[in-house]
Symmetry: C2
Subunit: 227 residues, 2 copies
Protein backbone atom coordinates (compact mmCIF):
# COMPACT_ATOMS: atom_id res chain seq x y z
CA UNK A 1 0.00 0.00 0.00
CA UNK A 2 1.37 3.42 -0.93
CA UNK A 3 0.35 6.85 0.27
CA UNK A 4 -2.21 7.53 -2.43
CA UNK A 5 -4.23 4.39 -1.74
CA UNK A 6 -4.30 5.03 1.98
CA UNK A 7 -7.78 5.89 3.12
CA UNK A 8 -8.21 9.41 4.25
CA UNK A 9 -11.80 9.69 5.25
CA UNK A 10 -12.91 6.89 7.53
CA UNK A 11 -9.76 5.11 8.68
CA UNK A 12 -11.66 2.47 10.64
CA UNK A 13 -13.25 1.24 7.41
CA UNK A 14 -9.81 0.49 6.02
CA UNK A 15 -8.53 -3.07 5.93
CA UNK A 16 -4.91 -3.89 5.22
CA UNK A 17 -5.17 -7.65 5.70
CA UNK A 18 -3.85 -9.26 2.54
CA UNK A 19 -6.06 -12.34 2.90
CA UNK A 20 -9.17 -10.16 3.19
CA UNK A 21 -8.21 -8.29 0.01
CA UNK A 22 -7.65 -11.58 -1.81
CA UNK A 23 -11.00 -12.93 -0.60
CA UNK A 24 -12.92 -9.95 -2.02
CA UNK A 25 -11.15 -10.22 -5.37
CA UNK A 26 -11.87 -13.96 -5.46
CA UNK A 27 -15.56 -13.58 -4.56
CA UNK A 28 -16.28 -10.74 -7.01
CA UNK A 29 -17.49 -11.49 -10.54
CA UNK A 30 -17.00 -8.15 -12.27
CA UNK A 31 -14.39 -5.46 -11.83
CA UNK A 32 -15.00 -1.83 -12.72
CA UNK A 33 -11.85 -0.70 -14.49
CA UNK A 34 -11.03 2.99 -14.83
CA UNK A 35 -8.46 4.64 -17.02
CA UNK A 36 -7.74 8.04 -18.49
CA UNK A 37 -8.83 8.32 -22.11
CA UNK A 38 -8.12 11.16 -24.54
CA UNK A 39 -5.60 13.77 -23.52
CA UNK A 40 -2.42 14.74 -25.35
CA UNK A 41 -2.22 11.42 -27.18
CA UNK A 42 -5.92 11.32 -28.06
CA UNK A 43 -8.10 13.67 -30.05
CA UNK A 44 -10.15 15.05 -27.15
CA UNK A 45 -9.51 16.25 -23.62
CA UNK A 46 -8.41 13.75 -20.99
CA UNK A 47 -11.40 12.14 -19.29
CA UNK A 48 -11.99 9.14 -17.04
CA UNK A 49 -13.65 6.01 -18.46
CA UNK A 50 -15.00 3.18 -16.27
CA UNK A 51 -16.12 -0.14 -17.75
CA UNK A 52 -17.08 -3.53 -16.25
CA UNK A 53 -14.65 -6.34 -17.05
CA UNK A 54 -13.96 -9.98 -16.29
CA UNK A 55 -10.83 -10.65 -14.29
CA UNK A 56 -9.05 -13.16 -12.08
CA UNK A 57 -6.44 -13.05 -9.35
CA UNK A 58 -3.36 -15.27 -9.40
CA UNK A 59 -1.29 -14.75 -6.27
CA UNK A 60 -0.31 -11.09 -6.24
CA UNK A 61 -1.31 -10.47 -9.85
CA UNK A 62 -4.64 -9.45 -11.36
CA UNK A 63 -5.44 -10.44 -14.95
CA UNK A 64 -7.89 -8.49 -17.12
CA UNK A 65 -9.32 -9.83 -20.32
CA UNK A 66 -11.05 -8.59 -23.47
CA UNK A 67 -10.92 -8.33 -27.23
CA UNK A 68 -7.85 -6.57 -28.66
CA UNK A 69 -10.29 -4.18 -30.36
CA UNK A 70 -11.48 -2.91 -26.99
CA UNK A 71 -10.56 0.72 -26.56
CA UNK A 72 -9.83 0.23 -22.89
CA UNK A 73 -7.41 -2.61 -23.45
CA UNK A 74 -5.74 -0.81 -26.34
CA UNK A 75 -5.21 2.27 -24.21
CA UNK A 76 -3.96 0.28 -21.24
CA UNK A 77 -1.55 -1.66 -23.48
CA UNK A 78 0.31 1.57 -24.14
CA UNK A 79 1.04 1.66 -20.41
CA UNK A 80 -1.79 3.84 -19.16
CA UNK A 81 -2.48 3.62 -15.45
CA UNK A 82 -5.64 1.81 -14.41
CA UNK A 83 -7.76 1.64 -11.28
CA UNK A 84 -9.56 -1.67 -10.78
CA UNK A 85 -12.38 -1.66 -8.23
CA UNK A 86 -14.33 -4.72 -7.06
CA UNK A 87 -17.30 -4.09 -4.76
CA UNK A 88 -19.41 -6.66 -2.90
CA UNK A 89 -22.67 -5.39 -1.47
CA UNK A 90 -23.66 -7.13 1.79
CA UNK A 91 -26.61 -5.17 3.19
CA UNK A 92 -28.63 -1.98 3.06
CA UNK A 93 -28.30 -0.10 6.34
CA UNK A 94 -31.55 1.58 7.40
CA UNK A 95 -31.00 4.27 10.03
CA UNK A 96 -33.49 6.47 11.91
CA UNK A 97 -32.57 9.48 9.79
CA UNK A 98 -32.10 9.72 6.03
CA UNK A 99 -28.50 10.90 6.11
CA UNK A 100 -27.31 8.00 8.28
CA UNK A 101 -28.52 5.45 5.75
CA UNK A 102 -25.63 3.47 4.34
CA UNK A 103 -24.59 0.15 2.86
CA UNK A 104 -22.56 -2.68 4.27
CA UNK A 105 -19.99 -3.57 1.64
CA UNK A 106 -16.49 -4.77 0.95
CA UNK A 107 -14.59 -2.92 -1.74
CA UNK A 108 -11.05 -3.38 -3.04
CA UNK A 109 -9.22 -0.79 -5.14
CA UNK A 110 -6.10 -1.76 -7.10
CA UNK A 111 -4.06 0.95 -8.83
CA UNK A 112 -1.13 0.55 -11.16
CA UNK A 113 0.10 0.16 -14.69
CA UNK A 114 -1.36 -2.81 -16.51
CA UNK A 115 0.88 -4.39 -19.13
CA UNK A 116 0.06 -6.85 -21.87
CA UNK A 117 0.83 -10.52 -21.29
CA UNK A 118 2.86 -11.64 -24.31
CA UNK A 119 4.19 -15.01 -23.15
CA UNK A 120 1.91 -17.62 -24.75
CA UNK A 121 1.94 -20.01 -21.79
CA UNK A 122 1.20 -17.27 -19.24
CA UNK A 123 -1.58 -16.00 -21.50
CA UNK A 124 -3.27 -19.41 -21.71
CA UNK A 125 -2.90 -19.87 -17.96
CA UNK A 126 -4.39 -16.41 -17.33
CA UNK A 127 -7.36 -17.04 -19.62
CA UNK A 128 -8.02 -20.38 -17.91
CA UNK A 129 -7.78 -18.63 -14.57
CA UNK A 130 -10.40 -16.05 -15.62
CA UNK A 131 -12.81 -18.80 -16.74
CA UNK A 132 -12.27 -20.82 -13.56
CA UNK A 133 -12.52 -17.70 -11.40
CA UNK A 134 -16.02 -17.10 -12.74
CA UNK A 135 -17.10 -20.76 -12.80
CA UNK A 136 -14.78 -23.04 -10.80
CA UNK A 137 -14.17 -26.32 -12.64
CA UNK A 138 -15.25 -24.96 -16.01
CA UNK A 139 -11.86 -25.14 -17.75
CA UNK A 140 -11.75 -28.92 -17.29
CA UNK A 141 -15.22 -29.20 -18.87
CA UNK A 142 -14.51 -27.45 -22.18
CA UNK A 143 -11.97 -27.93 -24.97
CA UNK A 144 -8.58 -26.18 -24.64
CA UNK A 145 -8.24 -22.80 -26.33
CA UNK A 146 -6.86 -22.84 -29.89
CA UNK A 147 -3.65 -20.96 -30.63
CA UNK A 148 -5.50 -18.67 -33.03
CA UNK A 149 -8.04 -17.79 -30.32
CA UNK A 150 -5.33 -16.98 -27.81
CA UNK A 151 -3.53 -14.79 -30.37
CA UNK A 152 -6.77 -12.88 -31.00
CA UNK A 153 -7.25 -12.10 -27.31
CA UNK A 154 -5.58 -9.47 -25.20
CA UNK A 155 -4.73 -10.20 -21.58
CA UNK A 156 -3.38 -7.53 -19.25
CA UNK A 157 -1.64 -8.11 -15.94
CA UNK A 158 -1.57 -5.70 -13.02
CA UNK A 159 0.45 -6.30 -9.85
CA UNK A 160 -1.39 -6.10 -6.51
CA UNK A 161 1.35 -3.78 -5.19
CA UNK A 162 -0.87 -0.80 -4.63
CA UNK A 163 -4.20 -1.88 -3.27
CA UNK A 164 -6.57 -0.95 -0.47
CA UNK A 165 -9.83 -2.22 0.96
CA UNK A 166 -12.81 -0.54 2.59
CA UNK A 167 -15.41 -2.38 4.62
CA UNK A 168 -18.58 -1.35 6.39
CA UNK A 169 -20.27 -3.91 8.62
CA UNK A 170 -22.74 -3.83 11.48
CA UNK A 171 -25.94 -2.01 12.37
CA UNK A 172 -26.93 1.59 11.59
CA UNK A 173 -25.21 4.29 13.64
CA UNK A 174 -27.69 6.96 14.64
CA UNK A 175 -27.37 10.21 16.56
CA UNK A 176 -28.18 9.83 20.26
CA UNK A 177 -31.13 12.21 19.99
CA UNK A 178 -32.69 10.03 17.28
CA UNK A 179 -32.82 6.81 19.27
CA UNK A 180 -36.40 7.47 20.34
CA UNK A 181 -37.57 8.17 16.78
CA UNK A 182 -40.48 5.98 15.78
CA UNK A 183 -38.71 4.49 12.74
CA UNK A 184 -37.81 0.85 12.13
CA UNK A 185 -34.02 0.59 11.83
CA UNK A 186 -31.86 -2.34 10.85
CA UNK A 187 -30.32 -4.18 7.93
CA UNK A 188 -31.61 -5.72 4.71
CA UNK A 189 -29.04 -8.45 3.87
CA UNK A 190 -28.08 -8.76 0.22
CA UNK A 191 -26.37 -11.52 -1.73
CA UNK A 192 -26.20 -12.98 -5.22
CA UNK A 193 -29.37 -14.86 -6.20
CA UNK A 194 -28.77 -17.81 -8.50
CA UNK A 195 -31.51 -19.13 -10.80
CA UNK A 196 -31.96 -22.58 -12.27
CA UNK A 197 -29.42 -23.15 -15.06
CA UNK A 198 -30.98 -22.66 -18.52
CA UNK A 199 -29.56 -25.16 -21.05
CA UNK A 200 -28.74 -23.94 -24.54
CA UNK A 201 -30.99 -25.39 -27.26
CA UNK A 202 -28.32 -27.75 -28.51
CA UNK A 203 -27.44 -28.93 -25.02
CA UNK A 204 -30.87 -30.52 -25.00
CA UNK A 205 -31.52 -32.92 -22.17
CA UNK A 206 -27.93 -33.31 -21.00
CA UNK A 207 -27.95 -33.25 -17.20
CA UNK A 208 -26.61 -30.10 -15.55
CA UNK A 209 -23.02 -30.96 -14.57
CA UNK A 210 -21.84 -30.62 -10.98
CA UNK A 211 -19.64 -27.58 -11.61
CA UNK A 212 -22.69 -25.70 -12.92
CA UNK A 213 -25.03 -26.82 -10.15
CA UNK A 214 -22.34 -26.13 -7.53
CA UNK A 215 -21.97 -22.53 -8.64
CA UNK A 216 -24.97 -21.54 -6.51
CA UNK A 217 -23.07 -22.71 -3.43
CA UNK A 218 -20.22 -20.22 -3.89
CA UNK A 219 -19.51 -17.41 -1.40
CA UNK A 220 -22.22 -14.77 -1.05
CA UNK A 221 -24.72 -16.73 -3.12
CA UNK A 222 -28.25 -17.72 -2.21
CA UNK A 223 -30.34 -20.24 -4.09
CA UNK A 224 -33.63 -20.62 -2.30
CA UNK A 225 -31.85 -20.24 1.04
CA UNK A 226 -31.15 -17.34 3.37
CA UNK A 227 -28.58 -14.79 2.31
CA UNK B 1 -24.83 10.75 -26.96
CA UNK B 2 -21.64 12.27 -28.31
CA UNK B 3 -18.87 10.69 -30.34
CA UNK B 4 -16.74 9.61 -27.42
CA UNK B 5 -19.49 7.60 -25.73
CA UNK B 6 -20.43 5.84 -28.95
CA UNK B 7 -19.59 2.19 -28.75
CA UNK B 8 -16.81 1.15 -31.02
CA UNK B 9 -16.40 -2.52 -30.42
CA UNK B 10 -19.68 -4.38 -30.58
CA UNK B 11 -22.26 -1.98 -32.02
CA UNK B 12 -25.13 -4.48 -31.62
CA UNK B 13 -24.63 -4.40 -27.86
CA UNK B 14 -25.30 -0.66 -27.85
CA UNK B 15 -28.68 0.65 -26.74
CA UNK B 16 -29.71 4.24 -27.31
CA UNK B 17 -33.24 3.94 -25.92
CA UNK B 18 -33.61 6.61 -23.25
CA UNK B 19 -36.15 4.58 -21.25
CA UNK B 20 -33.81 1.57 -21.14
CA UNK B 21 -30.97 3.77 -19.85
CA UNK B 22 -33.25 5.24 -17.18
CA UNK B 23 -34.42 1.75 -16.15
CA UNK B 24 -30.86 0.53 -15.54
CA UNK B 25 -30.00 3.62 -13.51
CA UNK B 26 -33.18 3.17 -11.47
CA UNK B 27 -32.62 -0.54 -10.83
CA UNK B 28 -28.96 -0.21 -9.84
CA UNK B 29 -27.95 0.28 -6.20
CA UNK B 30 -24.32 1.35 -6.51
CA UNK B 31 -22.51 3.38 -9.13
CA UNK B 32 -18.80 3.09 -9.79
CA UNK B 33 -17.57 6.64 -10.20
CA UNK B 34 -14.27 7.36 -11.91
CA UNK B 35 -12.30 10.58 -11.98
CA UNK B 36 -8.76 11.73 -12.61
CA UNK B 37 -6.84 12.35 -9.40
CA UNK B 38 -3.43 13.93 -9.01
CA UNK B 39 -1.93 15.66 -12.04
CA UNK B 40 -0.75 19.28 -12.30
CA UNK B 41 -3.00 20.42 -9.46
CA UNK B 42 -2.17 17.47 -7.18
CA UNK B 43 1.09 16.29 -5.72
CA UNK B 44 1.48 13.14 -7.82
CA UNK B 45 1.00 12.07 -11.43
CA UNK B 46 -2.52 12.01 -12.87
CA UNK B 47 -4.16 8.65 -12.28
CA UNK B 48 -7.69 7.25 -12.48
CA UNK B 49 -9.63 6.51 -9.28
CA UNK B 50 -12.85 4.45 -9.19
CA UNK B 51 -15.03 4.24 -6.08
CA UNK B 52 -18.52 2.86 -5.37
CA UNK B 53 -21.12 5.52 -4.50
CA UNK B 54 -24.80 5.93 -3.77
CA UNK B 55 -26.74 7.88 -6.36
CA UNK B 56 -30.20 8.60 -7.74
CA UNK B 57 -31.66 9.73 -11.05
CA UNK B 58 -34.13 12.61 -11.29
CA UNK B 59 -35.28 13.03 -14.88
CA UNK B 60 -32.18 13.74 -16.94
CA UNK B 61 -29.97 14.41 -13.93
CA UNK B 62 -27.89 12.08 -11.80
CA UNK B 63 -27.18 12.98 -8.17
CA UNK B 64 -24.12 11.67 -6.30
CA UNK B 65 -23.76 11.86 -2.57
CA UNK B 66 -21.07 11.67 0.10
CA UNK B 67 -19.32 13.43 2.93
CA UNK B 68 -17.64 16.71 1.98
CA UNK B 69 -14.40 15.20 3.28
CA UNK B 70 -14.45 12.58 0.55
CA UNK B 71 -11.52 13.09 -1.78
CA UNK B 72 -13.58 12.13 -4.80
CA UNK B 73 -16.30 14.66 -4.08
CA UNK B 74 -13.77 17.37 -3.28
CA UNK B 75 -11.98 16.79 -6.55
CA UNK B 76 -15.18 16.66 -8.54
CA UNK B 77 -16.40 19.88 -6.91
CA UNK B 78 -13.57 21.72 -8.57
CA UNK B 79 -15.11 20.73 -11.88
CA UNK B 80 -13.25 17.54 -12.67
CA UNK B 81 -14.84 15.29 -15.24
CA UNK B 82 -16.38 12.07 -13.95
CA UNK B 83 -17.48 8.78 -15.48
CA UNK B 84 -20.37 7.07 -13.67
CA UNK B 85 -20.95 3.42 -14.52
CA UNK B 86 -23.86 1.28 -13.29
CA UNK B 87 -23.76 -2.43 -14.15
CA UNK B 88 -26.49 -5.02 -13.61
CA UNK B 89 -25.41 -8.64 -13.95
CA UNK B 90 -28.15 -10.89 -15.38
CA UNK B 91 -26.48 -14.23 -16.12
CA UNK B 92 -23.26 -16.12 -16.60
CA UNK B 93 -22.98 -17.36 -20.19
CA UNK B 94 -21.38 -20.81 -20.43
CA UNK B 95 -20.16 -21.60 -23.93
CA UNK B 96 -18.58 -24.75 -25.37
CA UNK B 97 -15.14 -23.11 -25.40
CA UNK B 98 -13.46 -21.04 -22.73
CA UNK B 99 -13.01 -17.90 -24.82
CA UNK B 100 -16.69 -17.68 -25.74
CA UNK B 101 -17.74 -17.52 -22.09
CA UNK B 102 -19.40 -14.22 -21.29
CA UNK B 103 -21.93 -12.50 -19.07
CA UNK B 104 -25.39 -11.19 -19.78
CA UNK B 105 -25.51 -7.70 -18.35
CA UNK B 106 -26.86 -4.20 -18.71
CA UNK B 107 -24.40 -1.38 -18.19
CA UNK B 108 -24.86 2.39 -18.43
CA UNK B 109 -21.96 4.84 -18.67
CA UNK B 110 -22.53 8.55 -17.98
CA UNK B 111 -19.72 11.01 -18.67
CA UNK B 112 -19.60 14.71 -17.87
CA UNK B 113 -18.69 17.38 -15.39
CA UNK B 114 -20.35 17.01 -12.02
CA UNK B 115 -21.04 20.25 -10.16
CA UNK B 116 -21.98 20.84 -6.54
CA UNK B 117 -25.63 21.42 -5.70
CA UNK B 118 -25.70 24.62 -3.63
CA UNK B 119 -29.42 25.45 -3.60
CA UNK B 120 -30.71 24.20 -0.23
CA UNK B 121 -34.09 23.03 -1.54
CA UNK B 122 -32.57 21.14 -4.48
CA UNK B 123 -30.05 19.59 -2.10
CA UNK B 124 -32.73 18.30 0.29
CA UNK B 125 -34.76 16.98 -2.64
CA UNK B 126 -31.69 15.23 -4.06
CA UNK B 127 -30.82 13.61 -0.73
CA UNK B 128 -34.41 12.41 -0.34
CA UNK B 129 -34.25 11.08 -3.86
CA UNK B 130 -31.10 9.10 -3.08
CA UNK B 131 -32.69 7.53 0.02
CA UNK B 132 -35.91 6.70 -1.83
CA UNK B 133 -33.97 5.39 -4.83
CA UNK B 134 -32.31 2.82 -2.58
CA UNK B 135 -35.40 2.02 -0.46
CA UNK B 136 -38.65 3.33 -1.98
CA UNK B 137 -40.92 4.82 0.68
CA UNK B 138 -38.12 5.28 3.19
CA UNK B 139 -38.10 9.09 3.26
CA UNK B 140 -41.70 9.17 4.52
CA UNK B 141 -40.74 6.78 7.34
CA UNK B 142 -37.89 8.80 8.90
CA UNK B 143 -37.58 12.33 10.28
CA UNK B 144 -36.72 15.14 7.83
CA UNK B 145 -33.02 16.05 7.52
CA UNK B 146 -31.80 18.85 9.79
CA UNK B 147 -30.34 21.98 8.21
CA UNK B 148 -27.00 21.29 9.87
CA UNK B 149 -26.93 17.78 8.38
CA UNK B 150 -27.68 19.07 4.91
CA UNK B 151 -24.94 21.71 5.22
CA UNK B 152 -22.45 19.01 6.23
CA UNK B 153 -23.23 16.92 3.15
CA UNK B 154 -22.01 17.36 -0.40
CA UNK B 155 -24.30 16.56 -3.31
CA UNK B 156 -23.10 16.62 -6.90
CA UNK B 157 -25.30 16.74 -10.00
CA UNK B 158 -24.35 15.40 -13.41
CA UNK B 159 -26.54 15.82 -16.50
CA UNK B 160 -27.44 12.70 -18.47
CA UNK B 161 -26.36 14.44 -21.69
CA UNK B 162 -23.56 12.09 -22.55
CA UNK B 163 -24.54 8.54 -21.76
CA UNK B 164 -24.48 5.15 -23.39
CA UNK B 165 -25.66 1.65 -22.62
CA UNK B 166 -24.36 -1.80 -23.44
CA UNK B 167 -26.42 -4.95 -23.16
CA UNK B 168 -25.72 -8.63 -23.71
CA UNK B 169 -28.65 -11.02 -23.66
CA UNK B 170 -29.36 -14.51 -24.93
CA UNK B 171 -27.58 -17.84 -25.10
CA UNK B 172 -23.87 -18.53 -25.67
CA UNK B 173 -22.59 -18.01 -29.21
CA UNK B 174 -20.21 -20.80 -30.17
CA UNK B 175 -18.16 -21.50 -33.25
CA UNK B 176 -19.91 -23.86 -35.67
CA UNK B 177 -17.18 -26.49 -35.30
CA UNK B 178 -17.74 -26.59 -31.53
CA UNK B 179 -21.44 -27.43 -31.61
CA UNK B 180 -20.71 -31.14 -31.27
CA UNK B 181 -18.41 -30.64 -28.27
CA UNK B 182 -19.47 -32.70 -25.29
CA UNK B 183 -19.84 -29.71 -22.97
CA UNK B 184 -22.99 -28.49 -21.25
CA UNK B 185 -23.71 -24.96 -22.47
CA UNK B 186 -26.28 -22.46 -21.29
CA UNK B 187 -26.97 -19.70 -18.80
CA UNK B 188 -26.80 -19.37 -15.01
CA UNK B 189 -29.30 -16.59 -14.21
CA UNK B 190 -28.23 -14.08 -11.56
CA UNK B 191 -30.17 -11.57 -9.51
CA UNK B 192 -30.07 -9.80 -6.15
CA UNK B 193 -30.83 -12.13 -3.22
CA UNK B 194 -32.60 -10.46 -0.32
CA UNK B 195 -32.38 -11.82 3.20
CA UNK B 196 -34.79 -11.42 6.11
CA UNK B 197 -34.55 -7.88 7.53
CA UNK B 198 -32.42 -7.76 10.69
CA UNK B 199 -33.85 -5.29 13.23
CA UNK B 200 -31.44 -3.03 15.13
CA UNK B 201 -31.24 -3.78 18.87
CA UNK B 202 -33.27 -0.71 19.79
CA UNK B 203 -35.91 -1.45 17.19
CA UNK B 204 -36.79 -4.44 19.32
CA UNK B 205 -40.00 -6.18 18.42
CA UNK B 206 -41.43 -3.49 16.15
CA UNK B 207 -42.93 -5.19 13.11
CA UNK B 208 -41.02 -4.88 9.83
CA UNK B 209 -42.78 -2.06 7.95
CA UNK B 210 -44.17 -2.60 4.46
CA UNK B 211 -41.56 -0.48 2.69
CA UNK B 212 -38.82 -2.71 4.16
CA UNK B 213 -40.61 -6.00 3.43
CA UNK B 214 -41.51 -4.78 -0.07
CA UNK B 215 -37.89 -4.10 -0.94
CA UNK B 216 -37.39 -7.77 -1.82
CA UNK B 217 -40.01 -7.41 -4.55
CA UNK B 218 -38.10 -4.75 -6.48
CA UNK B 219 -36.72 -5.33 -10.00
CA UNK B 220 -34.04 -8.01 -10.32
CA UNK B 221 -34.54 -9.25 -6.76
CA UNK B 222 -35.23 -12.77 -5.58
CA UNK B 223 -36.36 -13.67 -2.08
CA UNK B 224 -36.91 -17.40 -1.96
CA UNK B 225 -38.23 -17.33 -5.53
CA UNK B 226 -36.73 -17.89 -8.97
CA UNK B 227 -34.43 -15.20 -10.33
Amino acid sequence: MTERTELRRIPDRSVTDRDAIHAVLDEGLLAHVGLIAGGPAGGDAAHPVVIPMLYARDGERLYLHGSPASRLLRTAKKGAEVCVTVTLLDALVLARSGLHHSMNYRSVVVMGTAVEVTDADEKVAALDRIVDHTIPGRVAAVRPARESEVRATTVLVLPLDECSMKVRTGPPIDDDEDMDEDAWAGLIPIGVAVGEPVPDDDTGDDPVPDHVADWARGPGRANGRAV
